[in-house]
């Protein structure tokens, strides 16, 4: 260690006595305070805060502002870091008492720092910071807060009065539930990559709230953070069968495979059908295993106009269609199935189907079913099952050579994917193209997935592939998007909530903003999941109405140069006043402050932009504001005092490391 005995720049270390120096010969408490308030401790804390803050910006870049706020900046350990800093400041100042004039600057700077930290602590978690969306001409008072909200409402049977209703609501932070990594885990991610799940199934359900008097507990069992905005389906203990269909297309010369539309098909009364360009996908469920067998093993050959296959009371009956001699009848005991009409190239015209020579061949049959004094009529297309008819009617399948052997010679484009779910939970898949006939056949087990080409193959210029996911029992749920976490995808938030009651539990997926009603015996329980909101009228005694939004632009330009909102402030006592909120000119009212933050086009009831703008305000109330301002002023003032009252002697320097 070099010994330098030369003049050092001010403030001369001789004027300075370190905290540890001052603690020599003092009691253990003083020595502890001196150690906490020492310059090396301060330097260590400064370095630590710098490193943490720097790394946290990467957390924010990877997972977004709200996640970083929830899991880093508002976390207990982050607060502890600043409490440590505040403690070090207090100790450093305290051990120097009584202060001399050249220390006044030092004291003021550190007092300023302390005031600043106090300002943040004072505002704490109660600081109001939300968004207020103001469509033109509408009175608004609900602020969206950066937190989620879960509510439970229990309505006993026959309770007409609100008094009998039990309710409870809590604010919840869902980022850790959604599988966002902790800061410590994030630090390890360069060496041990972290893959954030699209749906995070919690190993231990997270308790949200309880209603002990009703014997109910609400827990979260899973959170989906990257789901499509429109509801999808999720596997469940009970519910309707559903198939998820996604179509991909590649055309020659195209480097990128194009994703065509997709969606969920459910086997409800209308059957599930999806038509995308040249590809039709049909989905139905059969009750009878005999029909499933007939579907899975189509005949090797068929008459020219196809064959109607009817399963009634567990027995298969076939009727070969002769389009030239209609109507035809199939009599099975007391049941009569009549084929009244066949249309080869159907097209919807004036609300009814008619034959159109310009259309592609896609034969359909008009059927009438009759038994005793009841009868019904329906259309069935080749390759499709007759959708389940209300009441006890047979299941039918219309097989046509078009979808079995094709039209030959490459005529016609497009194809069909026929999906049939069975009572055993297996999905039968058959594909066919108009030109070549039958393609792939497959069976997909419950919860399984299947991918294959429908249109295309050797020599074909175009290829359409289909991806299926099969859920024999499903309920509304989140539809996870194909996300790449490295690309910072964000989408809708869903939560799977389990309502625990004495007899068991009920699970439901809810999107943010969704609610579910669950019947428990004679009680009706409503679960509600949404963004946390604050009613400005209740909390601050006013609401606002956007009168006019003004967007200034540079001449001839399309970019915003300024924006401002003219609003009416409607006070709870009935008074009203006008005000203008613009960028850099907020509005102070009722203890809160409104800032012009953003705007978006207003969408009318018809789904089209109305040409007017919805103004978005940040509404904030920070009770620590003046502490922050005072602290800032003290820090700057103290730095100037440090300079002003610096010791002007130059004295020999102490031993230095460098």
């Amino acid at each position: 260690m070099p010994h330098t005995a030369c003049a050092m720049p001010d403030p001369g270390p001789a004027a300075f006595r370190s905290s540890l120096d001052r603690a020599r010969g003092r009691g253990p408490l003083f020595r502890l305070l001196a150690a906490i308030g020492s310059a090396p401790m301060a330097a260590a804390l400064l370095v630590l805060v710098s490193l943490v803050a720097w790394t946290a910006t990467y957390y924010e870049a990877a997972y977004g502002r709200e996640a970083a706020a929830a899991l880093v900046y508002q976390s207990r350990w982050f607060s502890a870091l600043f409490i440590g800093l505040a403690l070090a400041v207090v100790c450093a100042v305290a051990v120097r008492w009584p202060w001399k004039r050249h220390q006044y600057g030092f004291v003021v700077v550190h007092a300023g720092l302390l005031t600043l930290i106090l300002g943040f602590a004072f505002a704490g978690r109660d600081r109001l910071d939300g968004l207020l969306q103001a469509p033109p001409g509408r009175v608004v008072d609900q602020i969206e807060l950066p937190a989620d909200y879960v509510a439970l409402v229990v309505q006993p049977a026959g309770a007409a009065s609100a008094a009998a209703t039990q309710a409870r609501a809590v604010h919840v932070q869902t980022y850790d539930l959604a599988g966002y990594p902790s800061f410590a885990r994030f630090l390890l991610s360069p060496f041990w990559p972290y893959q954030r799940p699209g749906i995070n199934h919690l190993a231990q359900p997270a308790h949200l709230l309880s209603l002990p008097e009703a014997g109910l507990t609400l827990v979260a069992t899973a959170v989906a953070d990257t789901a499509a905005p429109q509801p999808g389906r999720a596997a469940a203990e009970a519910g309707d069968p559903a198939v998820q269909v996604a179509l991909r297309m590649r055309t020659p010369g195209q480097a990128v495979e194009q994703r065509l539309a997709g969606g969920w098909l459910t086997a409800d009364a209308d059957g599930g059908q999806l038509f995308v360009g040249p590809l039709a996908t049909t989905f139905a469920c059969a009750r009878d295993p005999v029909l499933i067998q007939a579907f899975a093993h189509p005949p090797a050959s068929l008459p020219a106009d196809g064959r109607l296959r009817v399963v009634w009371r567990g027995i298969l009956h076939d009727l070969d269609i002769d389009a030239a001699h209609l109507p035809q009848h199939l009599v099975i005991g007391s049941l009569t199935v009549s084929v009244e009409e066949r249309i080869l190239r159907p097209r919807q015209r004036d609300g009814r189907l008619a034959d159109d020579p310009a259309a592609e061949a896609n034969p359909v049959l008009r059927l009438r079913l009759h038994e005793g004094d009841r009868d019904t009529a329906a259309w069935v297309a080749a390759g499709a099952l007759l959708p389940p008819l209300p009441g006890d009617w047979p299941e039918l399948l219309y097989e046509h050579p078009l979808w079995l052997a094709g039209a030959g010679s490459g005529q016609g484009q497009g194809g069909i994917a026929m999906l049939l779910g069975g009572p055993d939970g297996v999905l039968q898949v058959r594909t066919a193209t108009r030109s070549r006939g039958a393609g792939t056949a497959a069976a997909v087990a419950a919860g399984g997935a299947w991918s294959g080409d429908v249109v295309g193959g050797e020599g074909s210029p175009m290829r359409i592939s289909i991806d299926l996911r099969w859920l024999p029992r499903s309920q509304t749920g989140p539809d996870p998007l194909d996300v790449d976490p490295a690309r910072k995808d964000r989408s809708e938030r869903w939560m799977e909530l389990a309502l625990r009651h004495p007899a068991g539990e009920e699970r439901r997926w809810l999107p943010r903003g969704g609610r579910a009603a669950i019947q428990l015996g004679d009680r009706r329980v409503v679960v509600h999941y949404d963004r946390a909101r604050l009613d400005l009228r209740q909390s601050h005694g006013f609401a606002i109405r956007l009168e006019h939004f003004d967007e200034g632009r540079d001449p001839g330009g399309m970019r915003s140069a300024s924006y401002a909102s003219d609003v009416s402030i409607l006070h709870a006592d009935g008074g009203a006043e006008r005000a203008r909120i613009s960028m850099n000119q907020p509005l102070h009212v009722g203890g809160a402050t409104l800032y012009q933050t953003a705007f978006s086009p207003e969408i009318g009831d018809d789904g089209m932009p109305t040409g007017r703008q919805v103004s978005v305000f940040t509404v904030a109330e920070d009770r620590g504001r003046w502490l922050k301002y005072t602290g800032s002023a003290l820090i700057v003032l103290g730095m100037l005092l440090l300079w002003w009252w610096r010791p002007r002697r130059t004295v020999p320097a102490p031993e230095t490391v460098l």
């Binding site: 805060v49 803050a53 990128v256 690309r487 001449p555 960028m583």
Partner: protein
Amino acid sequence: MIRTILAAFACLAGLAAAESSTTAILSAPIGIAALPVLHEGRVKPFAVAAEEIVLVVAGKTPFGLVAAGAGGERRLAVRVPAADLLVDWWRDPAAWRNRPLVHVPWLALQGELAIPGQWAAPDELGAAQTRIDAVLAERRQAEATGLRRAAGRDEQALVELARRIGATAEALAGRSLLLAPLAPDAAARAWVLETLPPLLERESHAERPWRAQVREAVRRPTANDQDAALARNDPWLTAEDLCLRPDPVLAALVATGQAPADLIELLTAANAWWRAVLGDGDYPAAHARLDAALRARAARRDGELRARGVGSEQVAGYPGPSLIALELAYHRARPFTWAWLAFLAGALVVAGGARDGSPAWRRRLGAGLIVLALGITTAGLGARIAITGLGAVSTLYETLIYVALVTGILALVLWRTLHRPGLAVAGALAAALCAMVGEAIPPEYGASIGQLQPVLRSRFWLWLHVKVVVAAYAPFVLAWALGNLALWRAGHAGRPVANDEARAIYRCLQIGTVLMAAGTLLGGVWADQAWGRFWGWDPKEVGALIVVLVYLVPLHLRYVGWVGATGTAAWAVLGFIAVLWSWYGVNFIQATGLHAYAFGSSNRLDQALVGGAVLAQALLTTWQLVHLRSRS
């Protein structure tokens, strides 16, 4: 060491000064440069707008004709001023569609599209369009599913290429430049609303911006709304509409004789002007007539805006002739290139006269050169402030120039107070480096005077917060230069850093820390005023905080003797990495994906350069410290 650095600087200066010979394509008439045109939301001289347009399309100015080299590789063979080039594009757009002019700097795309070099002819880019369409379709699909997805690098390159192809088509057609507001007052708006809709409905060929805006406006449900929407859209007529291929709709309206007289005069003057540009007629007279017609119309527009109460600070008005002349002069003079040359010369002269016994006139001459450089820089920044009417410290380019100015002033002041010429040498070298980097970086970093975001349009805060924070970088730059100098001298002499050198560095760190802390806290107050929160852990805020904290560390450790003279010098050098992070890194390295300002292969190169320089500096300083420890 100093000699090596100075030699390197001199070498770079020589390279920059070397002008390549230019051959005119179609020389535009003298005087065309000063024609006021509207481009990117600001009325500016034709020559300035032309350069910005050529830069977007060709990525380089002056640009001109590209020729194939011996190996088929395309290289720029003829360079002409941007104004001449733009006029030639207008004169013969069909020929230019077959000439390489669209900048395609991405190697992967060059290979894929079989372009032998950096430039492609618009007609060669048909294949790219298929891919661009596919990428855009994919994006739309992702958006339709509710997924907000950031693009990968290849995708970004394609989207950027699509933007350039669009900009090229606009430039060749004469649509990039706007000349005159269509409907500046209530009477003219009424005329547009009554007369145009039937013609707009019949119109089927390529959409013009002004027509699209009018169409949007006339779709409003009530007359009042239409009026307001038209005023808000503020449609302007393009050079194509007015001069090159006058719009048939406008021409038809003028032919009815019911159009306002100033519109008729404008169209007539503009037609005559274009004929004069092509050599048919007296250019100065045609120019003066068009200029007068444009100003008459703009005066009506500005009066209308003022009457509506929006022509004030928020929306810039039409500039007077003197402002156009000032901008043109600023643009031609390239003051900051001269400024860094003067800084460099000042540093060389002071260094030459710094030894004991050197004549005093050398130091005085050096000081004079540095003062001259400061004067040029101040004048240049003053011109930018006059042109924008705002603070002129809003882009990386402007901050570099501003830091050069403050560094130069600080160096002179410290030289006067501490009587060490080395301070002036280091300060002037650092200032020269800042201004030179500013001039060398690609124009997308803000060399051209662009538009400001709404939140930045507050003179008060732009001066109070931004100027203070950026001014804080200057003492840190100076401390960095002094630190390097001190460490080098210490290593050379085989002793620790001298205390008087450390004292100067320490002063710089003190000044910088006070300014940085004050500026950051003022930023907190501004953020509280503008956004509703004092501190939001925004990366830029964190960057500033880290700078303060990093420099506070040696200020604390000095007291207990953990950091001495050598340590102060080393900290001034290494701590500068935090400044670079806050200044450059936050915006250009960390800001990937959704928050990216600029991207492209050149940006990666910049990052590699900055990263390499930082690494080299860190290694050098570490080696110097180890070396010093072992020698002592």
